[in-house]
Protein backbone atom coordinates (compact mmCIF):
# COMPACT_ATOMS: atom_id res chain seq x y z
CA UNK A 1 0.00 0.00 0.00
CA UNK A 2 2.84 2.33 0.80
CA UNK A 3 4.54 1.99 -2.58
CA UNK A 4 1.38 1.91 -4.67
CA UNK A 5 0.11 5.50 -4.32
CA UNK A 6 3.48 6.87 -5.40
CA UNK A 7 3.53 5.04 -8.70
CA UNK A 8 -0.16 5.73 -9.23
CA UNK A 9 0.53 9.40 -8.71
CA UNK A 10 3.35 9.29 -11.18
CA UNK A 11 1.22 7.72 -13.89
CA UNK A 12 -1.45 10.30 -13.12
CA UNK A 13 1.10 13.04 -13.60
CA UNK A 14 2.30 11.46 -16.82
CA UNK A 15 -1.26 11.25 -18.07
CA UNK A 16 -1.84 14.86 -17.05
CA UNK A 17 1.27 15.88 -18.94
CA UNK A 18 0.12 14.18 -22.14
CA UNK A 19 -3.34 15.68 -21.77
CA UNK A 20 -1.77 19.12 -21.53
CA UNK A 21 0.59 18.47 -24.42
CA UNK A 22 -1.96 17.08 -26.87
CA UNK A 23 -4.06 20.22 -27.44
CA UNK A 24 -1.09 22.54 -28.01
CA UNK A 25 0.49 20.08 -30.43
CA UNK A 26 -2.80 19.75 -32.30
CA UNK A 27 -3.24 23.53 -32.42
CA UNK A 28 0.27 24.29 -33.62
CA UNK A 29 0.48 21.48 -36.13
CA UNK A 30 -2.98 21.74 -37.67
CA UNK A 31 -3.35 25.51 -37.71
CA UNK A 32 0.21 26.79 -38.00
CA UNK A 33 2.83 24.27 -39.15
CA UNK A 34 0.98 22.09 -41.66
CA UNK A 35 -0.76 25.06 -43.34
CA UNK A 36 2.58 26.75 -43.86
CA UNK A 37 4.21 23.59 -45.21
CA UNK A 38 1.24 23.13 -47.51
CA UNK A 39 1.58 26.72 -48.67
CA UNK A 40 5.24 26.11 -49.53
CA UNK A 41 4.24 23.00 -51.50
CA UNK A 42 1.50 24.85 -53.36
CA UNK A 43 3.88 27.68 -54.20
CA UNK A 44 6.29 25.18 -55.75
CA UNK A 45 3.89 23.73 -58.28
CA UNK A 46 2.53 24.80 -61.59
CA UNK A 47 -0.82 23.94 -63.09
CA UNK A 48 -0.31 22.16 -66.40
CA UNK A 49 -3.91 21.05 -66.91
CA UNK A 50 -7.07 20.90 -64.83
CA UNK A 51 -6.09 19.25 -61.54
CA UNK A 52 -2.70 18.38 -63.00
CA UNK A 53 0.31 19.92 -61.29
CA UNK A 54 4.03 19.76 -61.78
CA UNK A 55 6.92 20.77 -59.56
CA UNK A 56 8.27 24.12 -60.68
CA UNK A 57 9.86 27.34 -59.53
CA UNK A 58 7.87 29.32 -62.07
CA UNK A 59 5.88 31.21 -59.43
CA UNK A 60 9.09 32.55 -57.96
CA UNK A 61 10.72 33.34 -61.30
CA UNK A 62 7.52 35.16 -62.22
CA UNK A 63 7.99 37.32 -59.14
CA UNK A 64 11.57 38.24 -60.01
CA UNK A 65 10.90 38.91 -63.68
CA UNK A 66 7.73 40.98 -63.33
CA UNK A 67 8.80 44.48 -62.18
CA UNK A 68 5.37 45.32 -60.76
CA UNK A 69 5.56 42.50 -58.19
CA UNK A 70 9.17 43.18 -57.37
CA UNK A 71 8.65 46.93 -56.98
CA UNK A 72 5.58 46.48 -54.82
CA UNK A 73 7.54 44.15 -52.58
CA UNK A 74 10.46 46.55 -52.10
CA UNK A 75 8.12 49.50 -51.70
CA UNK A 76 6.14 47.71 -48.98
CA UNK A 77 9.32 46.81 -47.12
CA UNK A 78 10.80 50.31 -47.32
CA UNK A 79 7.58 52.05 -46.31
CA UNK A 80 7.16 49.65 -43.39
CA UNK A 81 10.66 50.40 -42.15
CA UNK A 82 10.09 54.15 -42.48
CA UNK A 83 6.73 53.88 -40.71
CA UNK A 84 8.35 51.90 -37.87
CA UNK A 85 11.13 54.46 -37.46
CA UNK A 86 8.69 57.40 -37.48
CA UNK A 87 6.43 55.65 -34.98
CA UNK A 88 9.39 55.17 -32.66
CA UNK A 89 10.51 58.79 -33.01
CA UNK A 90 7.00 60.11 -32.33
CA UNK A 91 6.23 57.69 -29.51
CA UNK A 92 9.49 57.90 -27.57
CA UNK A 93 9.15 61.44 -26.12
CA UNK A 94 5.52 60.77 -25.20
CA UNK A 95 6.40 57.47 -23.53
CA UNK A 96 9.22 59.14 -21.64
CA UNK A 97 6.85 61.87 -20.51
CA UNK A 98 4.33 59.34 -19.23
CA UNK A 99 6.90 57.09 -17.59
CA UNK A 100 9.35 59.56 -16.07
CA UNK A 101 7.93 63.10 -15.97
CA UNK A 102 4.47 62.28 -14.66
CA UNK A 103 3.60 60.26 -11.61
CA UNK A 104 0.54 59.06 -9.73
CA UNK A 105 -2.93 59.66 -11.12
CA UNK A 106 -2.08 61.86 -14.14
CA UNK A 107 0.40 59.23 -15.26
CA UNK A 108 -2.20 56.46 -15.09
CA UNK A 109 -4.80 58.63 -16.80
CA UNK A 110 -2.55 59.60 -19.69
CA UNK A 111 -1.42 56.02 -20.17
CA UNK A 112 -5.02 54.85 -20.36
CA UNK A 113 -5.80 57.72 -22.74
CA UNK A 114 -3.07 56.33 -24.99
CA UNK A 115 -4.75 52.95 -25.02
CA UNK A 116 -8.29 54.14 -25.71
CA UNK A 117 -8.09 54.56 -29.50
CA UNK A 118 -6.89 51.02 -29.82
CA UNK A 119 -9.89 49.50 -28.18
CA UNK A 120 -11.68 50.70 -31.29
CA UNK A 121 -11.45 48.73 -34.51
CA UNK A 122 -8.72 49.62 -36.99
CA UNK A 123 -11.48 50.07 -39.53
CA UNK A 124 -13.05 52.88 -37.50
CA UNK A 125 -9.70 54.59 -36.99
CA UNK A 126 -8.93 54.46 -40.70
CA UNK A 127 -12.43 55.71 -41.45
CA UNK A 128 -11.71 58.69 -39.21
CA UNK A 129 -8.66 59.54 -41.28
CA UNK A 130 -10.67 59.19 -44.47
CA UNK A 131 -13.18 61.73 -43.21
CA UNK A 132 -10.37 64.06 -42.18
CA UNK A 133 -8.29 63.84 -45.33
CA UNK A 134 -10.77 63.52 -48.18
CA UNK A 135 -11.48 66.35 -50.60
CA UNK A 136 -14.63 67.37 -48.74
CA UNK A 137 -12.98 66.55 -45.43
CA UNK A 138 -12.08 68.54 -42.37
CA UNK A 139 -8.43 69.26 -43.09
CA UNK A 140 -9.25 70.55 -46.55
CA UNK A 141 -12.09 72.61 -45.05
CA UNK A 142 -9.84 74.03 -42.34
CA UNK A 143 -7.19 75.02 -44.87
CA UNK A 144 -9.78 76.83 -46.97
CA UNK A 145 -11.20 78.55 -43.92
CA UNK A 146 -7.73 79.73 -42.97
CA UNK A 147 -7.28 81.04 -46.49
CA UNK A 148 -4.23 78.88 -47.16
CA UNK A 149 -5.82 77.31 -50.22
CA UNK A 150 -8.65 78.60 -52.38
CA UNK A 151 -10.21 75.30 -53.45
CA UNK A 152 -10.74 71.86 -51.89
CA UNK A 153 -7.59 69.74 -51.75
CA UNK A 154 -7.57 65.98 -51.99
CA UNK A 155 -5.24 64.58 -49.34
CA UNK A 156 -6.37 61.01 -49.54
CA UNK A 157 -4.89 58.42 -51.92
CA UNK A 158 -1.22 59.23 -51.64
CA UNK A 159 1.78 57.89 -49.77
CA UNK A 160 1.64 60.49 -47.02
CA UNK A 161 -1.92 59.50 -46.20
CA UNK A 162 -0.88 55.83 -46.04
CA UNK A 163 2.03 56.76 -43.80
CA UNK A 164 -0.14 58.78 -41.40
CA UNK A 165 -2.62 55.92 -41.18
CA UNK A 166 0.09 53.32 -40.57
CA UNK A 167 1.77 55.38 -37.86
CA UNK A 168 -1.54 56.07 -36.17
CA UNK A 169 -2.55 52.42 -36.24
CA UNK A 170 0.80 51.25 -34.86
CA UNK A 171 1.17 53.79 -32.07
CA UNK A 172 -0.12 51.64 -29.22
CA UNK A 173 2.28 48.79 -29.96
CA UNK A 174 5.16 51.21 -29.57
CA UNK A 175 3.93 53.24 -26.59
CA UNK A 176 3.07 50.30 -24.33
CA UNK A 177 6.45 48.48 -24.42
CA UNK A 178 8.29 51.81 -24.22
CA UNK A 179 6.37 53.01 -21.17
CA UNK A 180 6.82 49.63 -19.50
CA UNK A 181 10.59 49.53 -19.92
CA UNK A 182 11.11 53.23 -19.18
CA UNK A 183 9.01 52.85 -16.07
CA UNK A 184 11.48 50.36 -14.65
CA UNK A 185 14.38 52.80 -15.07
CA UNK A 186 15.39 54.21 -11.72
CA UNK A 187 15.19 58.02 -11.78
CA UNK A 188 18.28 58.27 -9.62
CA UNK A 189 20.31 56.82 -12.48
CA UNK A 190 19.29 59.76 -14.64
CA UNK A 191 20.09 62.17 -11.81
CA UNK A 192 23.46 60.49 -11.30
CA UNK A 193 24.17 60.94 -14.99
CA UNK A 194 23.57 64.67 -14.64
CA UNK A 195 25.52 64.91 -11.39
CA UNK A 196 28.50 63.38 -13.14
CA UNK A 197 28.33 66.20 -15.65
CA UNK A 198 26.52 64.50 -18.52
CA UNK A 199 24.50 66.60 -20.94
CA UNK A 200 20.84 65.76 -21.68
CA UNK A 201 21.88 64.15 -24.93
CA UNK A 202 24.58 62.15 -23.22
CA UNK A 203 22.31 60.89 -20.45
CA UNK A 204 19.76 59.93 -23.07
CA UNK A 205 22.30 58.09 -25.18
CA UNK A 206 24.18 56.21 -22.49
CA UNK A 207 21.55 55.64 -19.79
CA UNK A 208 17.98 55.93 -21.01
CA UNK A 209 18.20 54.36 -24.46
CA UNK A 210 20.30 51.33 -23.46
CA UNK A 211 17.86 50.67 -20.64
CA UNK A 212 14.86 51.02 -22.95
CA UNK A 213 16.38 48.84 -25.67
CA UNK A 214 14.25 45.71 -25.02
CA UNK A 215 11.13 47.89 -25.20
CA UNK A 216 12.32 49.71 -28.31
CA UNK A 217 13.10 46.43 -29.98
CA UNK A 218 9.85 44.68 -29.15
CA UNK A 219 7.90 47.79 -30.14
CA UNK A 220 9.74 48.03 -33.46
CA UNK A 221 9.34 44.35 -34.27
CA UNK A 222 5.62 44.31 -33.56
CA UNK A 223 5.02 47.58 -35.42
CA UNK A 224 7.07 46.46 -38.39
CA UNK A 225 5.25 43.16 -38.71
CA UNK A 226 1.84 44.74 -38.31
CA UNK A 227 2.68 47.36 -40.92
CA UNK A 228 4.10 44.89 -43.40
CA UNK A 229 1.06 42.67 -43.06
CA UNK A 230 -1.43 45.51 -43.04
CA UNK A 231 -4.10 45.44 -45.71
CA UNK A 232 -6.80 47.77 -44.51
CA UNK A 233 -4.92 51.04 -44.12
CA UNK A 234 -3.00 51.03 -47.44
CA UNK A 235 -6.11 49.95 -49.35
CA UNK A 236 -8.45 52.52 -47.85
CA UNK A 237 -6.09 55.47 -47.54
CA UNK A 238 -3.97 54.73 -50.60
CA UNK A 239 -6.76 53.87 -53.00
CA UNK A 240 -6.02 52.10 -56.26
CA UNK A 241 -2.35 53.04 -56.41
CA UNK A 242 -1.41 52.03 -52.91
CA UNK A 243 0.67 49.09 -54.25
CA UNK A 244 0.92 47.17 -50.99
CA UNK A 245 2.17 43.62 -51.15
CA UNK A 246 -0.68 42.10 -49.14
CA UNK A 247 -3.00 43.46 -51.82
CA UNK A 248 -1.08 41.46 -54.40
CA UNK A 249 -1.59 38.36 -52.30
CA UNK A 250 -5.29 39.09 -51.97
CA UNK A 251 -5.62 39.72 -55.71
CA UNK A 252 -3.88 36.47 -56.62
CA UNK A 253 -5.95 34.42 -54.20
CA UNK A 254 -9.39 35.92 -54.34
CA UNK A 255 -9.67 37.88 -57.60
CA UNK A 256 -7.51 35.85 -59.99
CA UNK A 257 -7.83 32.54 -58.19
CA UNK A 258 -4.16 31.87 -58.91
CA UNK A 259 -3.35 30.19 -55.59
CA UNK A 260 0.06 28.99 -56.68
CA UNK A 261 1.26 32.52 -57.36
CA UNK A 262 -0.45 33.86 -54.23
CA UNK A 263 1.17 31.19 -52.06
CA UNK A 264 4.59 32.10 -53.48
CA UNK A 265 3.93 35.76 -52.61
CA UNK A 266 2.85 34.77 -49.12
CA UNK A 267 6.06 32.81 -48.57
CA UNK A 268 8.15 35.72 -49.85
CA UNK A 269 6.43 38.15 -47.48
CA UNK A 270 6.90 35.74 -44.59
CA UNK A 271 10.59 35.32 -45.42
CA UNK A 272 11.07 39.08 -45.63
CA UNK A 273 9.30 39.66 -42.33
CA UNK A 274 11.26 36.92 -40.53
CA UNK A 275 14.52 38.12 -42.03
CA UNK A 276 14.10 41.70 -40.89
CA UNK A 277 12.96 40.66 -37.42
CA UNK A 278 15.96 38.33 -37.16
CA UNK A 279 18.33 41.06 -38.31
CA UNK A 280 16.85 43.47 -35.79
CA UNK A 281 17.35 40.96 -32.98
CA UNK A 282 20.89 40.15 -34.10
CA UNK A 283 21.97 43.78 -34.37
CA UNK A 284 20.65 44.66 -30.94
CA UNK A 285 21.56 41.27 -29.41
CA UNK A 286 18.08 40.57 -28.03
CA UNK A 287 16.45 37.18 -27.61
CA UNK A 288 13.21 36.42 -29.40
CA UNK A 289 11.38 34.97 -26.39
CA UNK A 290 12.33 37.90 -24.21
CA UNK A 291 11.19 40.47 -26.75
CA UNK A 292 7.87 38.79 -27.45
CA UNK A 293 6.68 38.36 -23.88
Amino acid sequence: MSAEPGSLKRTQYRLGFWLLLAPIVLWLSLLIILPHIDMVLVSLRERVASRQYEFSFSNYTEFFTEPLYWNTFVRTAVMSIVATALTLIIAFPVSFYIAKVLSGKPKMALFILCLIPFWVSELVRTYGWMILLRETGLVSGALQWLGLVDQPVEMLYNDVAIMVGLIYTSMLFMVVPLVTTLDSLDKSLIEAGYDLGGSSWHVMKSIVIPHAMPGIMSGCIVVFMLTLGNYLTPTLLGGKDSLWFTEQIYTQFITRFNWEQGAAFGILLLVLSSLIVWLGLKITKQSFTRVMS
Binding site: I32, P117, V222, G229
Partner: protein
Protein backbone atom coordinates in the same frame (compact mmCIF):
# COMPACT_ATOMS: atom_id res chain seq x y z
CA UNK B 1 14.53 65.99 -18.49
CA UNK B 2 12.77 64.69 -15.39
CA UNK B 3 11.16 66.89 -12.72
CA UNK B 4 14.09 66.61 -10.30
CA UNK B 5 16.45 67.96 -12.96
CA UNK B 6 16.08 71.68 -13.58
CA UNK B 7 15.39 72.65 -17.17
CA UNK B 8 14.45 75.85 -18.94
CA UNK B 9 10.81 76.95 -19.00
CA UNK B 10 10.90 77.00 -22.80
CA UNK B 11 12.01 73.37 -22.86
CA UNK B 12 9.28 72.29 -20.47
CA UNK B 13 6.61 74.26 -22.31
CA UNK B 14 7.54 72.87 -25.70
CA UNK B 15 7.69 69.34 -24.32
CA UNK B 16 4.21 69.72 -22.85
CA UNK B 17 3.05 71.19 -26.15
CA UNK B 18 4.34 68.16 -28.02
CA UNK B 19 2.54 65.78 -25.69
CA UNK B 20 -0.70 67.74 -26.06
CA UNK B 21 -0.38 67.69 -29.86
CA UNK B 22 0.21 63.96 -29.71
CA UNK B 23 -3.02 63.40 -27.84
CA UNK B 24 -4.92 65.63 -30.25
CA UNK B 25 -3.53 63.48 -33.06
CA UNK B 26 -4.65 60.40 -31.20
CA UNK B 27 -8.17 61.47 -30.45
CA UNK B 28 -9.23 63.57 -33.45
CA UNK B 29 -10.08 60.75 -35.89
CA UNK B 30 -12.36 59.16 -33.32
CA UNK B 31 -14.10 62.42 -32.44
CA UNK B 32 -14.63 63.16 -36.11
CA UNK B 33 -16.19 59.76 -36.76
CA UNK B 34 -18.51 60.21 -33.80
CA UNK B 35 -19.46 63.79 -34.70
CA UNK B 36 -20.40 62.99 -38.29
CA UNK B 37 -22.79 60.26 -37.22
CA UNK B 38 -25.07 63.17 -36.24
CA UNK B 39 -24.62 65.19 -39.42
CA UNK B 40 -27.83 65.76 -41.38
CA UNK B 41 -26.28 64.91 -44.76
CA UNK B 42 -26.12 61.86 -47.00
CA UNK B 43 -22.33 61.83 -46.92
CA UNK B 44 -19.95 61.72 -43.97
CA UNK B 45 -18.26 64.95 -44.98
CA UNK B 46 -18.50 68.73 -44.76
CA UNK B 47 -20.56 70.89 -44.83
CA UNK B 48 -22.24 70.50 -41.46
CA UNK B 49 -26.01 70.53 -42.09
CA UNK B 50 -27.25 70.34 -38.54
CA UNK B 51 -28.04 67.64 -36.02
CA UNK B 52 -30.02 64.49 -36.72
CA UNK B 53 -30.70 61.07 -35.19
CA UNK B 54 -31.47 59.64 -38.64
CA UNK B 55 -28.31 57.57 -38.91
CA UNK B 56 -29.36 55.66 -35.83
CA UNK B 57 -33.14 55.68 -36.06
CA UNK B 58 -34.03 56.41 -39.70
CA UNK B 59 -36.28 53.70 -41.08
CA UNK B 60 -36.26 54.08 -44.85
CA UNK B 61 -33.80 54.49 -47.71
CA UNK B 62 -31.74 56.49 -48.34
CA UNK B 63 -31.76 57.49 -44.69
CA UNK B 64 -31.63 54.00 -43.31
CA UNK B 65 -30.45 54.18 -39.71
CA UNK B 66 -28.33 51.61 -37.94
CA UNK B 67 -31.18 50.08 -35.94
CA UNK B 68 -33.19 49.42 -39.12
CA UNK B 69 -30.28 48.31 -41.29
CA UNK B 70 -30.82 44.55 -41.25
CA UNK B 71 -27.66 43.72 -43.17
CA UNK B 72 -25.46 45.54 -40.67
CA UNK B 73 -27.31 44.19 -37.65
CA UNK B 74 -26.98 40.68 -39.01
CA UNK B 75 -23.24 41.09 -39.51
CA UNK B 76 -22.94 42.28 -35.90
CA UNK B 77 -24.69 39.07 -34.86
CA UNK B 78 -22.27 37.01 -36.94
CA UNK B 79 -19.29 38.78 -35.37
CA UNK B 80 -20.61 38.21 -31.85
CA UNK B 81 -21.10 34.49 -32.50
CA UNK B 82 -17.61 34.09 -33.93
CA UNK B 83 -16.09 36.11 -31.10
CA UNK B 84 -17.81 34.09 -28.35
CA UNK B 85 -16.70 30.75 -29.79
CA UNK B 86 -13.16 32.00 -30.44
CA UNK B 87 -12.88 33.45 -26.93
CA UNK B 88 -14.05 30.32 -25.13
CA UNK B 89 -11.90 27.99 -27.24
CA UNK B 90 -8.77 30.09 -26.94
CA UNK B 91 -9.22 30.54 -23.17
CA UNK B 92 -9.52 26.79 -22.68
CA UNK B 93 -6.43 26.00 -24.72
CA UNK B 94 -4.48 28.93 -23.28
CA UNK B 95 -5.11 27.71 -19.72
CA UNK B 96 -3.79 24.26 -20.67
CA UNK B 97 -0.76 25.87 -22.29
CA UNK B 98 -0.09 28.00 -19.22
CA UNK B 99 -0.04 24.93 -16.98
CA UNK B 100 2.14 23.08 -19.46
CA UNK B 101 4.76 25.83 -19.67
CA UNK B 102 4.72 26.90 -16.01
CA UNK B 103 4.45 23.52 -14.30
CA UNK B 104 5.97 20.86 -16.51
CA UNK B 105 9.56 20.20 -17.42
CA UNK B 106 10.15 18.27 -20.59
CA UNK B 107 12.71 18.08 -23.38
CA UNK B 108 12.02 20.51 -26.19
CA UNK B 109 10.10 22.88 -23.94
CA UNK B 110 11.91 25.98 -25.17
CA UNK B 111 11.44 24.95 -28.77
CA UNK B 112 7.72 24.44 -28.19
CA UNK B 113 7.53 27.84 -26.49
CA UNK B 114 9.12 29.57 -29.47
CA UNK B 115 6.74 27.68 -31.75
CA UNK B 116 3.84 28.83 -29.57
CA UNK B 117 4.91 32.46 -30.13
CA UNK B 118 5.06 32.00 -33.91
CA UNK B 119 1.45 33.01 -34.65
CA UNK B 120 2.35 36.51 -33.43
CA UNK B 121 5.09 36.82 -36.02
CA UNK B 122 3.04 35.61 -38.96
CA UNK B 123 1.18 38.48 -40.66
CA UNK B 124 -2.59 38.01 -40.41
CA UNK B 125 -3.13 37.88 -44.15
CA UNK B 126 -0.63 35.04 -44.50
CA UNK B 127 -2.06 33.14 -41.55
CA UNK B 128 -5.45 33.34 -43.25
CA UNK B 129 -4.10 32.33 -46.64
CA UNK B 130 -2.15 29.37 -45.28
CA UNK B 131 -5.19 28.04 -43.44
CA UNK B 132 -7.25 28.55 -46.58
CA UNK B 133 -4.76 26.57 -48.67
CA UNK B 134 -4.41 23.75 -46.16
CA UNK B 135 -8.10 23.36 -45.43
CA UNK B 136 -8.94 23.18 -49.10
CA UNK B 137 -6.20 20.60 -49.62
CA UNK B 138 -7.78 18.51 -46.88
CA UNK B 139 -11.28 19.09 -48.25
CA UNK B 140 -10.19 18.12 -51.76
CA UNK B 141 -8.60 14.99 -50.40
CA UNK B 142 -11.85 14.03 -48.68
CA UNK B 143 -13.71 14.67 -51.90
CA UNK B 144 -11.41 12.47 -53.97
CA UNK B 145 -11.10 9.68 -51.41
CA UNK B 146 -14.62 9.44 -50.02
CA UNK B 147 -16.60 11.51 -52.48
CA UNK B 148 -17.67 13.63 -49.53
CA UNK B 149 -17.81 17.41 -49.56
CA UNK B 150 -16.39 18.64 -46.26
CA UNK B 151 -18.44 21.84 -46.13
CA UNK B 152 -16.81 23.18 -42.95
CA UNK B 153 -13.39 23.33 -44.58
CA UNK B 154 -14.55 25.65 -47.35
CA UNK B 155 -14.38 29.41 -46.72
CA UNK B 156 -16.95 30.31 -44.10
CA UNK B 157 -17.47 30.99 -40.44
CA UNK B 158 -15.82 27.77 -39.23
CA UNK B 159 -12.59 28.71 -40.96
CA UNK B 160 -12.87 32.31 -39.79
CA UNK B 161 -13.18 31.07 -36.20
CA UNK B 162 -10.26 28.68 -36.60
CA UNK B 163 -8.09 31.38 -38.16
CA UNK B 164 -8.76 33.83 -35.34
CA UNK B 165 -8.37 31.11 -32.72
CA UNK B 166 -4.95 30.26 -34.19
CA UNK B 167 -3.33 33.52 -33.12
CA UNK B 168 -5.58 34.74 -30.30
CA UNK B 169 -4.64 31.63 -28.29
CA UNK B 170 -1.02 32.80 -28.20
CA UNK B 171 -1.99 36.14 -26.70
CA UNK B 172 -4.28 34.51 -24.14
CA UNK B 173 -1.51 32.06 -23.23
CA UNK B 174 0.92 34.91 -22.53
CA UNK B 175 -1.59 36.69 -20.28
CA UNK B 176 -2.59 33.59 -18.31
CA UNK B 177 1.00 32.28 -17.99
CA UNK B 178 2.13 35.59 -16.53
CA UNK B 179 -0.49 35.27 -13.79
CA UNK B 180 0.15 31.59 -13.13
CA UNK B 181 3.85 32.35 -12.67
CA UNK B 182 2.95 34.53 -9.66
CA UNK B 183 0.98 31.74 -8.03
CA UNK B 184 2.48 30.20 -4.91
CA UNK B 185 2.44 26.44 -5.52
CA UNK B 186 2.49 25.72 -1.79
CA UNK B 187 -1.16 26.82 -1.65
CA UNK B 188 -2.08 24.02 -4.00
CA UNK B 189 0.05 21.59 -1.98
CA UNK B 190 -1.71 22.71 1.19
CA UNK B 191 -5.06 21.91 -0.39
CA UNK B 192 -3.77 18.49 -1.39
CA UNK B 193 -2.40 17.88 2.13
CA UNK B 194 -5.88 18.63 3.41
CA UNK B 195 -7.16 15.80 1.28
CA UNK B 196 -8.09 17.42 -2.01
CA UNK B 197 -7.19 15.64 -5.20
CA UNK B 198 -4.95 17.47 -7.65
CA UNK B 199 -7.85 18.41 -9.90
CA UNK B 200 -9.94 19.64 -6.97
CA UNK B 201 -6.99 21.68 -5.74
CA UNK B 202 -6.59 23.28 -9.14
CA UNK B 203 -10.31 23.93 -9.48
CA UNK B 204 -10.77 25.43 -6.02
CA UNK B 205 -7.45 27.18 -5.40
CA UNK B 206 -5.55 27.82 -8.63
CA UNK B 207 -8.35 28.67 -11.03
CA UNK B 208 -9.89 31.30 -8.71
CA UNK B 209 -6.44 32.85 -8.46
CA UNK B 210 -6.27 32.94 -12.27
CA UNK B 211 -9.71 34.52 -12.60
CA UNK B 212 -8.56 38.13 -13.23
CA UNK B 213 -6.18 36.92 -15.93
CA UNK B 214 -8.83 34.67 -17.46
CA UNK B 215 -11.23 37.58 -17.51
CA UNK B 216 -8.68 40.01 -18.91
CA UNK B 217 -7.56 37.54 -21.57
CA UNK B 218 -11.20 36.85 -22.38
CA UNK B 219 -11.97 40.53 -22.97
CA UNK B 220 -8.89 40.95 -25.13
CA UNK B 221 -9.67 37.77 -27.07
CA UNK B 222 -13.26 38.87 -27.66
CA UNK B 223 -12.19 42.29 -28.94
CA UNK B 224 -9.42 40.92 -31.12
CA UNK B 225 -11.81 38.46 -32.67
CA UNK B 226 -14.57 41.02 -33.11
CA UNK B 227 -12.24 43.51 -34.73
CA UNK B 228 -10.09 41.12 -36.71
CA UNK B 229 -9.90 41.94 -40.36
CA UNK B 230 -6.82 40.51 -42.09
CA UNK B 231 -7.25 36.83 -41.27
CA UNK B 232 -11.03 37.03 -41.59
CA UNK B 233 -10.82 38.62 -45.04
CA UNK B 234 -9.06 35.59 -46.49
CA UNK B 235 -11.32 32.99 -44.92
CA UNK B 236 -14.74 34.58 -45.14
CA UNK B 237 -17.56 32.91 -47.05
CA UNK B 238 -21.05 34.19 -47.67
CA UNK B 239 -21.81 35.33 -44.08
CA UNK B 240 -19.86 38.52 -43.55
CA UNK B 241 -18.77 39.52 -40.04
CA UNK B 242 -19.08 43.22 -39.22
CA UNK B 243 -15.56 44.28 -40.19
CA UNK B 244 -15.94 42.74 -43.66
CA UNK B 245 -19.39 44.24 -44.15
CA UNK B 246 -18.11 47.68 -43.09
CA UNK B 247 -15.08 47.40 -45.34
CA UNK B 248 -17.24 46.61 -48.39
CA UNK B 249 -19.44 49.61 -47.69
CA UNK B 250 -16.48 51.89 -47.06
CA UNK B 251 -15.03 51.10 -50.44
CA UNK B 252 -18.32 51.73 -52.18
CA UNK B 253 -18.80 54.97 -50.28
CA UNK B 254 -21.56 54.96 -47.75
CA UNK B 255 -23.96 57.12 -45.80
CA UNK B 256 -23.07 58.16 -42.24
CA UNK B 257 -24.74 54.97 -41.01
CA UNK B 258 -21.17 53.66 -40.85
CA UNK B 259 -20.36 56.43 -38.38
CA UNK B 260 -23.26 55.27 -36.28
CA UNK B 261 -21.91 51.69 -36.29
CA UNK B 262 -18.52 53.07 -35.33
CA UNK B 263 -20.02 54.93 -32.38
CA UNK B 264 -21.74 51.74 -31.31
CA UNK B 265 -18.38 49.94 -31.48
CA UNK B 266 -16.69 52.69 -29.47
CA UNK B 267 -19.37 52.51 -26.78
CA UNK B 268 -19.11 48.72 -26.72
CA UNK B 269 -15.32 48.80 -26.43
CA UNK B 270 -15.46 51.45 -23.74
CA UNK B 271 -17.86 49.34 -21.68
CA UNK B 272 -15.63 46.29 -22.04
CA UNK B 273 -12.58 48.37 -21.10
CA UNK B 274 -14.29 49.72 -17.97
CA UNK B 275 -15.50 46.28 -16.94
CA UNK B 276 -12.04 44.80 -17.32
CA UNK B 277 -10.47 47.71 -15.43
CA UNK B 278 -12.79 47.13 -12.49
CA UNK B 279 -12.33 43.39 -12.64
CA UNK B 280 -8.57 43.73 -12.40
CA UNK B 281 -8.51 46.39 -9.73
CA UNK B 282 -8.33 44.17 -6.60
CA UNK B 283 -5.36 42.48 -8.19
CA UNK B 284 -3.28 45.64 -8.12
CA UNK B 285 -3.84 46.34 -4.41
Amino acid sequence: MIPSISSSRFYRASYLCYVVLFFIFLITPLLVVAAFSFNDSLFPSLPWNGFTWDWYLGSKEPRLGLFHDDALLESIGVSVQVAIVTTLASLALATCNAFLFEREQFPGKNFLYVLMLMPLVVPGVILGVSILVFSSTVANWFEVQFDYDFEALRPGLVLVTLGQFAFITTIATLVISARLRKFDVTQEEAAMNLGASRLTAIATVTLPFLKPALFGAGVVAFLMSFENFNTTLMLVGSDAPLTIAMFDRLREGSTPVLNAVSVLLMVGSACLALVSLFAQRPDKQ
